[in-house]
């Protein structure tokens, strides 16, 4: 059993010793991307990482038991998932560490890690170390270091993830052979993970090559010519992506005969970097920080450009928009200083969807989500005024909200969509 070491504030550290023998668990959010990120982390240090796929009622109940019930739903779910795992008997709790993301902004979500520790204490498991995954250098651990090199590799992995999900979404509703799309995503994820192991695919040139292969492969999936309404999904990052958080929203939309369009995580990453850059301009601060952020932002943007070029070149699929286009679209709605949670990006994504012909949008948020009062629901009136054909439904998620109400609202939006289609 590894020795428990604490830092000067009393935080339990994840030590190098633990890195060797502990299992690290992390809540699921983006199935395709997470798989690749986990692989990169494992390659870096030989960790043993598991992504939690649990989706039982027990997860919600555990969350409600250990987290303040007025806390946002993603906190209840992800903390519930982690504690449930720790209490399940599936792991040796003395060889277990929990990983959770920490955004560090003014949104209450940056508190998740602290609430997780409180929950562990309540459950009598405070000897389990918690690792913060963040881009801001918060909470350092001797046994878990995110180097710049690893960060760069992760960005490449995220690009692949976004590409697979983005074009996969355009195939799945139309595939002739059921399951063909998911099978291809699976096989490409396998292949990419193998490539990463051989240290391949993680550079601009290589990424462009493999992306070309990916897009060409997906273009070969046999598809029908049906016309289905496209429905965009935007919102708070967890309930937007995690099926556990949004009651399998994508699956529901597919069953209802729609094509889900889910903006990728790339823009969110650029957005978070861009915020720091913008902050210096708005309130002052280190010019070096500003330059550093500018360089990092441009790196991710370059990756995004490659991805878009590849899709455009091949010509079968709709590409995503450039970050700069999102920035342009949101003018007159929100300032770039609106950075808590998804901030201005949320509104920009709705605008981008409308401009790219996806007028139907589900805006997902945890019940009582603070930033979305402004960037989500707060902007819908103006969007409707500016784009009378837009068809946006706001759906709140929380442990008490029932599927029936959510589905009824989404069905109304879909009925509107097909009515607009006929017009």
């Amino acid at each position: 059993m590894a020795e428990l070491v604490y830092d000067e504030t009393g935080r339990l550290l994840f030590t190098e010793e633990m890195a060797k023998e502990y299992t690290l668990v992390v809540p699921q959010m983006l199935p395709v991307t997470f798989r690749m990120l986990v692989k990169l982390l494992e390659l870096e240090r030989g960790y043993h990482i598991e992504v939690l796929e649990t989706n039982t009622q027990k997860v919600v109940e555990t969350g409600l038991k250990y987290v303040h019930n007025d806390m946002c739903y993603p906190a209840i779910l992800s903390i519930g998932q982690l504690i449930e795992a720790a209490e399940s008997g599936r792991y040796d709790t003395h060889k277990l560490a929990l990983m959770i993301t920490q955004t560090g902004g003014g949104c209450r979500a940056s508190n998740y890690i602290h609430l997780l520790r409180k929950a562990l204490k309540k459950a009598g498991l405070e000897y389990i170390p918690v690792i913060s995954i963040n881009l801001s250098g918060m909470e350092k651990n001797p046994g878990f270091k995110l180097s710049l090199k690893l960060g760069v590799r992760c960005v490449f992995a995220m690009m692949y993830g976004d590409l697979l999900v983005h074009i996969g979404n355009q195939c799945r509703p139309y595939e002739v052979e059921k399951g063909a799309t998911d099978a291809l995503i699976e096989s490409w994820t396998d292949k990419l993970v193998d490539l990463f192991t051989e240290n391949k695919g993680l550079g601009f040139g290589a990424m462009r090559r493999y992306m070309r292969e990916i897009v060409a492969d997906f273009a070969k999936i046999e598809r029908t010519n049906e016309k289905k309404p496209r429905v965009g999904i935007v919102g708070e990052i967890y309930v937007k992506y995690a099926p556990l958080g949004n009651n399998n929203l994508e699956e529901f939309l597919l069953k209802e005969g729609a094509e889900p369009v889910v903006p990728g995580v790339t823009d969110f990453i650029i957005f978070k970097v861009n915020n720091r850059y913008v902050d210096v301009g708005l309130y002052g601060g280190s010019i070096f920080k500003k330059i550093g952020m500018w360089i990092f932002q441009n790196f991710v943007i370059k990756c995004q450009n490659i991805m878009i070029e590849v899709i455009e070149e091949e010509g079968t699929f709709r590409p995503m928009s450039h970050f700069s286009e999102l920035q342009e679209l949101v003018k007159g709605y929100l300032g770039y200083g609106n950075k808590m949670g998804e901030g201005w990006l949320l509104t920009a994504e709705m605008l981008e969807l409308i401009h790219s012909g996806t007028n139907n949008i589900v805006c997902t948020q945890p019940f009582g989500c603070l930033p979305n009062h402004v960037a989500g629901k707060g902007m819908m009136r103006k969007l409707k005024d500016d784009y009378p054909d837009s068809n946006i439904v706001a759906v709140d998620y929380d442990p008490g909200a029932t599927k029936i109400n959510q589905e009824n609202r989404i069905k109304l939006m879909l009925a509107n969509a097909s009515r607009n289609e006929r017009k």
């Binding site: 038991k65 303040h68 003014g106 009062h373 402004v374 009136r381 008490g400 909200a401 109304l412």
Partner: protein
């Protein structure tokens, strides 16, 4: 659109079935599109059975025919799926019917059992449905009728005779109850309440659903409630200013969605009537509920053991017809029930009463007292009488009782009688949940249910009635079911939709009954008490209150805690029993209670008035009794009683008055600039006022917040779950424009000042970005110069640089001037903070010199707004506290690492203030929390931990647009009682 009337479907008849949350509506159209058959019936949660039954009844018409059938409605989806019948979304069905029959319609307002919808037809078709937070409307009216103890028809009739409308929250039944209950308890007229309930529905529908879009000229009203309740129609017409030509209440307005579904069947495949009937019947047994829990009792034997264990905890009974000697009366005038107990000198029970107060507790107590006197004859003498509960003051005044005591103390007194080792008491009444720990013989920490989950006990009752059962029968149904349905542990409003879902999935009434009992328990344990395990509560738990008379609830509680608890047989009347014991403890020679002779002349009249003495505009009820006794209720302060305000120092009031003193200089050269008086302005007004005054502007502050200001901007609020302080901002900017201000300044400020107490200095997202939300939602702002730039005051030099540029670009002000003004503004802000701190120190000294207790009211700066704080500060002061605010002590502490992320300036103040309070023997802290404040989900637990670690009592008050003075009073008085008890070294 008349082509929908014609049957082009190739079937003989077209049918629409609308299955809503409470009713099934069926419409059958004949060949010509005429209505051949219609039915509107409650389904009492038996959705499939009822649908099958109604179709069966139509057999004489339909036998052997081909039909096309569409199902619609929120509970219809399940039937549609399992019986393989096509579904149409109900808003679309409704729109179809409206476009067919009333094409001139501009908009439709439809109220159903639990849904409220507005459909806009003018311009682009747009629908709005109530959000997940909005409780029902029809169900809401049902609930309110139950509360008033009248039928819905009577409620409607009564509403015609109203004189006065009270403000009542209709966002959900629970909120409204907390509004109505005090009015009832204080003797308000039921007729007024009836009309007020309807008005609340109207306000909620219009404000909540229109969100700024105009309804147009011709409005069609649909749905059961609007079809059946004349009073509700009248309120809508009056509020919307509609004449008979433009307010259309169509024939079959209760079945319009079903009608629309029938009209939409053209193009669907005809089927045989008998086939469809068979499919629906088959689907009846097709129920699959996956989310279930273990049964409450496995067997009758287990239940019998349970009963005998609990029945042991009984006080002795004394025969009132034989006893002679002293007796003591205790009354618990609860929110929905009134309880009376008369005990003998040893605590034996002579007489008990437990019953609904039927909206008039005075009458009940009057009748019971007469009975008691009759039974007492000359043998028994009442030597003391005490009252507790919501109606305490009223009853005490009405009958000249000797004492009143706060509920928590009454319950502790009773629990101690049965179990001297009691360390945790939980009382779930009709309306409130009170839990408290006992440590060292004194009340230690008190948990009361927040505004959002109150009404737990009466919720089951209302639900039972809605499903057509009496409460006793209903709760027994659940005792032995194999699979209670899991309804979640959220506030009761959400349970409505959970139940709806369970119905859809085919859960039986018994499954739901058991599920509801379990829900109430989970709500209490996890939401109110926030316990992690049974050990968090205690070893010796005593349960009390009417809700625990329900065996299902008690069993669920024991199951959840995994330990046995004590339920005295008098659980339902333990408050009254405790009051009686308290009366006995007084050891009076003579009770002042009205004698039998005085009772004969007893007269009670209640008259509602609105107090105009301050902006709170309390709804007062003036109760007059025989012999000139008079009692005013509903007040927050003593002013309407003709007395002066309490003279004890109140720093919240001082701060507020200080802020109001910052007004502009008329005729300033650069013209007027408006600042909305809310949210961050409460912190930064000294700064911006000085800044703009120095720049040569006349600063115009929007008026003091009020309900009227809220209403003014209500229709532009896009998110109904945002906090009340934010909602008020809409009215504030509109008021500025009404005052002729054409430049409004309201900056976006993600960062606050860094006071060195936290790891960062953020504002919450709402405070930070609300200016942008206003720009996008308050259309009038387009007509003026609305400035909402991003600024950060926390980096002075950077701010000055950026401000200089901004005001040069915007107004052409020379940079030099702006720099000077900013310097002065920073200085003023410092001076203001300094003044508050000095004043705080002065008040603390005053308290210490005069032996007063000090209460730190900790919240956000804007909680001192009397419209937001509802005069809680005044109330606390009236109970004998000297009140200071968190910023008067937070600066006395240094930064210390916290277990939560401490990166919001206001939070840092809370934590620092709480830490300071733990170092001061004579200080207590009360935290104010806005309902819907997401960040306070973090701060409340942390502040509680800090205080409890420092051996202090944590008191939290949740505030909203609706003030629940009763609950607030309980907290403040319990705190005072607990502090006093601790000083005495226990009770």
């Amino acid at each position: 659109m008349t082509d929908a009337i014609n049957n082009t479907s190739k079937a003989d008849y077209r049918i629409g079935i609308d299955i809503g949350s409470t009713t099934v509506k069926v419409i059958i159209l004949d060949e010509k599109g005429e209505i051949l058959f219609r039915s509107y019936e409650r389904h009492f949660s038996k959705v499939r059975e009822k649908t099958a039954e109604v179709l069966e009844r139509a057999k004489p018409i339909l036998a052997g025919k081909t039909i096309v059938l569409l199902i619609t409605g929120s509970a219809g989806l399940g039937v549609s799926k399992s019986a393989d019948i096509p579904f149409i979304q109900e808003v679309f069905a409704t729109a179809k019917a409206v476009e067919t029959y009333i094409p001139e319609t501009d908009s439709v307002i439809e109220l159903g059992g639990e849904d409220a919808k507005i459909i806009f037809f003018n311009g682009s078709l747009e629908e709005r449905m109530n959000g997940s937070c909005a409780g029902g409307t029809g169900a809401f009216i049902d609930q309110m009728a139950t509360l008033l103890n009248v039928s819905v028809q009577e409620l409607d009739r009564m509403s015609a005779d109203f004189e006065k409308i009270y403000p009542i929250a209709s966002r959900c039944g629970v909120f409204a109850k907390t509004d109505i209950q005090p009015i009832l308890n204080q003797g308000g007229r039921k007729e007024d309440i009836a009309a007020s309930i309807y008005q609340a529905v109207v306000d909620q529908t219009i404000a909540g659903l229109t969100q700024g879009r105009a309804l147009g000229k011709t409005i069609v009203f649909l749905g059961g409630p609007l079809y059946y309740y004349k009073g509700l129609r009248a309120r809508f017409k009056e509020t919307l200013n509609l004449d008979d030509d433009h307010a259309i209440f169509p024939e079959n307005g209760d079945c319009f969605a079903a009608l629309g579904a029938a009209l939409s069947t053209n193009g669907f495949e005809p089927q045989k009537y008998e086939d469809i009937c068979a499919r629906i019947k088959e689907s009846v047994s097709d129920a699959v509920i996956t989310n279930t829990m273990p049964p409450l009792f496995e067997s009758e034997a287990e239940y019998a053991e349970f009963l005998s264990r609990h029945n042991k905890n009984a006080p002795p009974k004394t025969d009132i017809s034989k006893y002679a000697g002293d007796a003591y009366l205790g009354i618990d005038a609860g929110s929905t029930t009134t309880k009376l107990v008369v005990i003998d000198k040893d605590g034996g029970i002579l007489y008990t009463y437990y019953g609904s107060n039927r909206g008039n507790p005075v009458q009940i107590v009057f009748e019971e007292l007469k009975k008691i006197y009759a039974a007492a004859e000359d043998r028994i003498k009442i030597r003391g009488a005490a009252v507790t509960g919501y109606g305490e003051e009223l009853i005490k005044n009405a009958f000249n009782l000797d004492a009143g005591l706060v509920e928590t103390v009454a319950h502790f007194r009773a629990a101690r009688h049965f179990n001297p080792d009691v360390d945790f008491i939980i009382d779930i009444g009709g309306q409130d949940m009170k839990c408290f720990k006992i440590r060292n013989g004194a009340v230690d920490s008190i948990f009361l249910n927040e505004a959002c989950s109150s009404g737990c006990g009466s919720f089951i009752e209302t639900f039972a009635r809605a499903l057509g059962y009496e409460i006793e029968e209903f709760s027994k149904l659940g005792l032995f079911v194999k699979h209670p349905v899991n309804l979640g542990s959220r506030c009761t409003v959400f349970m409505n939709s959970s139940v709806k879902q369970a119905q859809r999935d085919g859960a039986s009434v018994a499954d739901i009954s058991a599920g509801l009992s379990i829900s109430i328990v989970k709500n209490a344990v996890y939401k109110v008490i926030r316990a992690g395990s049974a050990d968090d509560l205690g070893q010796n738990i005593v349960v009390q209150g009417g809700t625990f008379k329900n065996d299902a609830v008690l069993r669920a509680f024991e199951q959840e805690l995994k330990r046995n608890v004590t339920r005295p047989t008098i659980a339902g009347i333990s408050g009254a029993y405790g009051a009686a014991l308290h009366a006995k403890d007084l050891q009076l020679a003579e009770s002042s209670i009205l004698t039998e002779a005085q009772l004969a002349d007893f007269i009670h009249k209640a008259k509602p008035i609105t107090c105009k003495l301050c902006t709170n505009h309390c709804s007062l009820t003036v109760n007059t009794f025989d012999n000139g006794r008079r009692f005013v209720s509903g007040n927050r302060c003593s002013r309407p009683l003709g007395k002066e305000k309490s003279a004890l120092p109140n720093l919240a009031r001082y701060k507020y008055d200080k802020l109001l003193s910052y007004h502009g200089v008329e005729g300033a050269p650069r013209g007027k600039i408006g600042l909305p008086f809310g949210l961050n302005t409460y912190e930064n007004l000294p700064f911006w006022h000085t800044f703009f005054t120095r720049l040569g502007f006349e600063v115009v502050l929007s008026p003091e917040s009020s309900r009227a200001i809220y209403r003014l901007g209500q229709h532009t609020i896009p998110s109904d779950t945002v906090c009340y302080p934010a909602k008020l901002m809409h009215g504030h900017v509109l008021e500025l424009m009404n005052a002729g201000v054409d430049t409004i300044f309201y900056p976006c400020m993600p960062y606050n000042f860094d006071e060195g107490l936290g790891d960062n200095n953020f504002n919450c997202p709402v405070v930070a970005y609300y200016p942008e939300l206003l720009a996008a939602n308050v259309k009038e702002l387009k007509k003026v110069r609305y400035l909402y730039p991003y600024f950060g005051l926390h980096r002075k030099d950077d701010f000055i640089k950026r401000a200089a540029k901004y005001f040069k670009d915007e107004f052409g002000i020379p940079k030099r001037e702006t720099k000077k003004a900013a310097e002065a503004a920073y200085a003023e802000y410092e001076a203001y903070k300094d003044e508050i701190r000095k004043k705080g120190a002065e008040y603390i000294n005053y308290a210490r010199e005069n032996g007063k207790k000090i209460l730190v009211m900790a919240g956000r700066p804007y909680h001192i707004d009397p419209e937001i704080g509802h005069g809680i500060d005044e109330l606390a002061v009236s109970y004998g506290f000297v009140l200071i605010t968190e910023d008067a002590v937070s600066y006395l502490m240094d930064k210390e690492p916290r277990k939560v992320l401490n990166q919001w300036t206001y939070h840092s103040r809370l934590y620092a203030a709480a830490r300071y309070v733990t170092t001061q023997a004579d200080m207590q802290l009360m935290q104010l929390v806005s309902f819907g404040c997401g960040t306070d989900a973090v701060t409340t637990d942390e502040v509680r931990e800090i205080l409890e670690a420092g051996d202090k009592i944590y008191t939290q008050i949740k505030i909203d647009e609706i003030s629940n003075l009763g609950a607030i009073t309980i907290r403040i008085r319990s705190l005072m009682a607990a502090v006093e008890a601790r000083e005495r070294g226990g009770f």
